[in-house]
Amino acid sequence: MVRYNKKMEKLEDINKEQNKVETLTNKEDGLIESNKEKKIETIQAEEKEFLDEIKESTLDVFHFASKEKFQKAFRTVALATVLLTSIGEKAFAERDEHIKDPAAVITEIDKEIEQIIATAEIDDEIDKQRDLIKEKYDQEIIIGEDFSFEELKDLDDALEIVHDLAPKKFNELKLIFWKHDLKILKEQFVAFPNAISGASELKEIEDKSSNEIDFIKRVAINSNTNKIDSNKKNNYEIILIPNKTDMNYADIAKSLTCFWRISISNRESFVNSYRDTIIHEFGHIIPINDSIDYEKMEDKFDKLNDKVVEGKTINEILEDVKNPKLKRPNGCVSAYAVTANNLEKAYLSSRGTSKAQYNSSESIAEVFSYMALGFNYADDDLIVQEKIKVLEEFLNEKSNE
């Protein structure tokens, strides 16, 4: 019995030893397993990071690349997306089933691709049109972002018309065309003469500006400050241009019947109103760019406009505008030069008896438009003839510089 007990003890010892070895082996296996899992997790994290990066950086292509690259970009993004698919029961267990008709998805994708390619084609056309404008004229021209093809076409046409009328004065200009999207400015075109020294200052102002209104304010301040600084005469002129699609000239003409510019009034259709308003802005910029001669010309216009007013009231002047045959005050090519100053008064009938005033700056811009667009409806008006002569002289004079 004693012998048996001793044997049993020995056996127990052996078992204990075996258990120890087994525990150790299990621990080692556990360590190996845990190491493997860690390595797998590291590889998976690296893989995800790589594929995500590929996907994101390829998506950038859609913002700037030519359409030839879109197909390759689609291919890369699709491949990265497929490879990002989490595989394995555990990964799938966390997902809901997504059932989607492949035929419907294909149709959607086809539409998206067509749309992106169509947009790219339009973008190509816009770039070509932008380059065409810049190459056509031997001078500094900066055209901002977001212009549509149609708007650039109108701009191109306007520049051609202005250049034909006053090539010398036009060639002296350095120009920035800036599209604004400010509802507060509505359909306004705004010209800021002598506003910016160059692209770097423009960028600086853009960076400093907290929003579009702030940008315009800064440009306006620059323009006003530079006006009196003779060292800064050779700056860029900025013309702010609104969205063409926001413009409804028929409504403008209807709602402000006395607010007639050449670009809007006396028209059967408003098809060229956008282009013609750009031309009107050149009627400001070209004269103001030549400050000394401009002052002389403005004086002459003031005197001619005094002859037109001759103590008349606003209402008397506006009678001419309401006259369907005339649609303009006598002595003027449009009503704008008078309504620009008297609009508020004209609407307040009690003050309609005030003495009418002319805005010679607008008067010059309107005569400029009249000449540039080849109109002749006011040619028999002696004062208009005088105004045309004064402007012609100015446009044919050599620059002061």
Binding site: I40, Q44, F50, T76, A78, L83, G88, E97, I106
Partner: protein, 92 residues
């Protein structure tokens, strides 16, 4: 939509039954974005689709077997393919 359509998505591509079985297993677990990506590849670059499914299958096997060496090789292959592609997109 019926299940058959998505299941039969790969029917017109010459691939072995193992791949089709794999597809049938994952198809209804995919997100809409992933399905779109599969469809784009099938429509425009079917060879990429075959390569991609092969990678996914190998990844699944490597994960089951906890074979990190195989996973490393898969990652290297992915990097080779995609780096070539992105070079073409960005520079080529």
């Amino acid at each position: 939509m019926n299940k058959i359509k998505l299941e039969n998505f790969l029917d017109d591509i010459e691939i072995n039954p193992e791949v089709k079985e794999f597809w049938a297993r994952i198809a209804y677990k995919l997100s809409p974005e992933e399905i779109e990506a599969f469809i784009i590849l099938k429509k425009y670059n079917p060879q990429d689709l075959i390569k991609a499914i092969d990678i996914l299958m190998r990844r699944e096997k490597a994960l089951l077997e906890k074979d990190f060496q195989a996973l490393k090789k898969i990652l290297k292959k992915e990097k080779d393919i995609l780096r070539d592609l992105i070079f073409e997109v960005k520079i080529g």
